[in-house]
């Protein structure tokens, strides 16, 4: 494992120094063992779900986490909220290290961090009424006397009819269910909300309603979001800063507009170019599409050296041959180094602004 030269530097990408982060993640790693045998379980391999990830989330901002399926986005979210235990590394919340906290110690902290999930169908108990679902945090944490009144205020705020307090979730549409999930997350007035693909299951017209709701809630309650999505358009719309993950690692992090306008890590560049462009672009800023060859390698057996080198167009451009990549790419994982002020990319040969990458892909 390569050492990150200045973890705090990379983590702070795009922010002023001296500001105190709400969440601080350092060298976070999670392996899931693959076992064989029923009684005597032997470990025969490991899924490298999250590998040496460091970043900060500052108060009031939205940090977007993008990547393809299996890149470790959701595992990272679950590690931060301590729904699963990390293999190594630390997570600090509001200045307190929570990695070693017991369940009891976590309870007051759970008030401050809540989650919104992707699937509004399976994340709500079908046998409970909306009142019970949204009111559950108060019952568990014993913080509120007049639960019903408070729940109805919340329902009103997220755009649900408070008179539907006694209805069951199956009586609502997908978008309304997602509003229920949001009301539940807001109940305890948390500081951090981790949104794990909150709009992926929704139709576009409803998706826009929910995105606008999340934005207005952020302004009203001074919320901090960790926003996970595989949809790059959505992430750009909501995020102040964005981190790109590939095979369990953060390969690039920086302010949203910088990162989208000028990706420096070849994977980020390829990912952005792969998004269907839609309309309304008049040539300027429209990139030539870089179609990556092959598939994402298995996280059980990640490639040696830079995890992206087997598919990297930049490495082939540097070597000048399609079947060859520079030795450094094959042998050593590049650290997340500063390539621009506030921009960090894990690459030995970062993409230069304006450099066309599609030539490499076609070489």
């Amino acid at each position: 494992m390569t050492e990150i030269v200045e973890p705090s530097g990379a983590a702070r990408a795009g922010r002023r120094s001296g500001e105190e982060p709400l969440v601080s993640v350092r060298n976070l790693t999670k392996y899931f063992p693959i076992t064989r045998g029923i009684i005597f379980q032997r470990e025969i391999g490991r899924v490298h779900a999250v590998e040496d990830v460091s970043f900060d989330i500052f108060r009031g901002e939205t940090l977007g986490l993008v990547g393809e399926s299996g890149s470790g986005k959701s595992t990272t979210a679950r590690l931060i909220t301590k729904l699963i235990e990390s293999t190594s590394g630390t997570v600090s919340f509001d200045g307190q290290e929570i990695t070693k906290h017991s369940r009891r110690q976590m309870r007051p902290i759970r008030r401050e961090m809540q989650m919104i999930f992707q699937d509004p169908y399976s994340s709500l108990n079908p046998r409970q009424t909306i009142g019970q679902i949204v009111g559950a945090p108060y019952v568990i944490q014993k913080t509120e006397r007049n639960v019903k009144r408070r729940v109805q205020e919340l329902m009103d705020r997220v755009g649900l009819n408070p008179e539907h307090y006694n209805r069951y979730s199956h009586e609502f549409s997908g978008g309304q269910r997602q509003r229920i999930g949001i009301a539940r997350a807001l109940a305890l007035n948390p500081q951090l909300i981790v949104c794990d693909e909150p709009v992926s299951a929704l139709d576009v017209s409803i998706q826009a309603q929910i995105l606008n709701l999340l934005r207005s809630l952020q302004d009203d309650f001074n919320l901090t979001y960790l926003f996970i999505s595989h949809d790059l358009g959505v992430v750009r719309y909501v995020s102040d800063r964005i981190a790109v993950m590939y095979l369990g690692r953060i390969v690039e992090i920086g302010s949203a507009s910088d990162l989208y306008d000028n990706p420096r890590q070849p994977y980020t560049a390829a990912l952005l170019s792969a998004v269907p462009k839609g309309y309304g672009e008049n040539g300027a800023g429209a990139r030539e599409r870089v179609v990556l060859k092959g598939d994402v390698p298995s996280p059980v057996d990640p490639p040696p050296g830079c995890v992206f080198h087997p598919r990297c167009p930049q490495a082939r451009l540097v070597s000048g041959r399609e079947d060859e990549v520079p030795e450094k790419c094959r042998t050593e994982m590049p650290p997340l180094g500063e390539v621009d002020s506030g921009r960090f990319a894990a690459c030995w040969y970062p993409v230069q602004p304006g450099q066309p990458l599609d030539l490499a892909a076609k070489a």
Binding site: D203, A208, Y237, Y279, G280, V291, D295
Partner: protein, 347 residues
Amino acid sequence: MAPERGFQGETLLDVRDLKVHFPTPDGVVKAVDGLSFTVHRGETFGIVGESGSGKSVTNLTALGLVNRKAAQIEGEVLFKGRDLLKLTPGELRHVRGKELAMIFQDPFASLHPMYRVGDQLIEAVKVHSNVSKKQAEERVLELLGAVGIPRPRERFRDYPHQFSGGMRQRAMIAMALTHNPDILIADEPTTALDVTVQAQILELIDHVKREFDIGVILITHDLGVIADVSQTVMVMYAGRAMELAPKDELFRKPLHPYTWGLLDSMPRIAQKGTRLLPIEGAPPSLINVPPGCAFHPRCPHRFQPCDRERPAFADRGGGHPEACHLTIEDKRRLWAERDARRLGVAV
């Protein structure tokens, strides 16, 4: 009704006033309610709409995959001059999978998990042509190569779980191409895939269209995908066509308020500082489709006749057919206003 615009290729599919209604204990579900369009050779015809807008039912009906006993089907689906709705199941079987091929959203569910991929493809070859197993195998290897599966001879013996999502979709495309079809219907072919793989598959579909000189019907909810690969786009809502236009016209000069709403709901990566203007409310239940224009309860520009009179699907002077009562002048003005609002400029 449907426009004949510019496409030189022969008309492959001509759908005329198609209605597909499902009687249920709760009422009649009007899944498709009066739909007309044509697809030509060499054309990628995109159908876009939200879930429940009737995109998939339209094509399942064309393929004869909707149970005719459970549904009331009216209208005509002319495929190279023959009405598919009048064919017997036996006759349809000779067309389906041979001249009309389909690929589905979920490549995980479309391959049998316990048979080798190669054997499943051989089966597809042998269904419609009387060839030896050896010949069928040769054909399959050729197809697997054509869709970009590396080392087809080795992968031929793999089981579906050994394939990634993108490779499975490639295998499905190979299967669809077995008998040189005239039309390939792709129902959300990339929805289950990651963006980088989606880009590969879209490129492949486009390549296949040119190479095999076929027509493609691409069904999706993703306007970005539509904008990338189709030449003609039909926007559907509540089982009806709202607007049908060449791609550039649809994206640059859309005429229907629902199309406007869709375009303004979609966050795009290349535009910063724009605001999303969502459509209020939710799509209607197909049992209780609103009277008049189906979109009127959610439409910010509704006026007098909208709640009573269903607007005809016709060209009102905008250059392509759409179903909205507004005059063409109003449409142009309102779209310009929305353009400004989205960019945060005062009008």
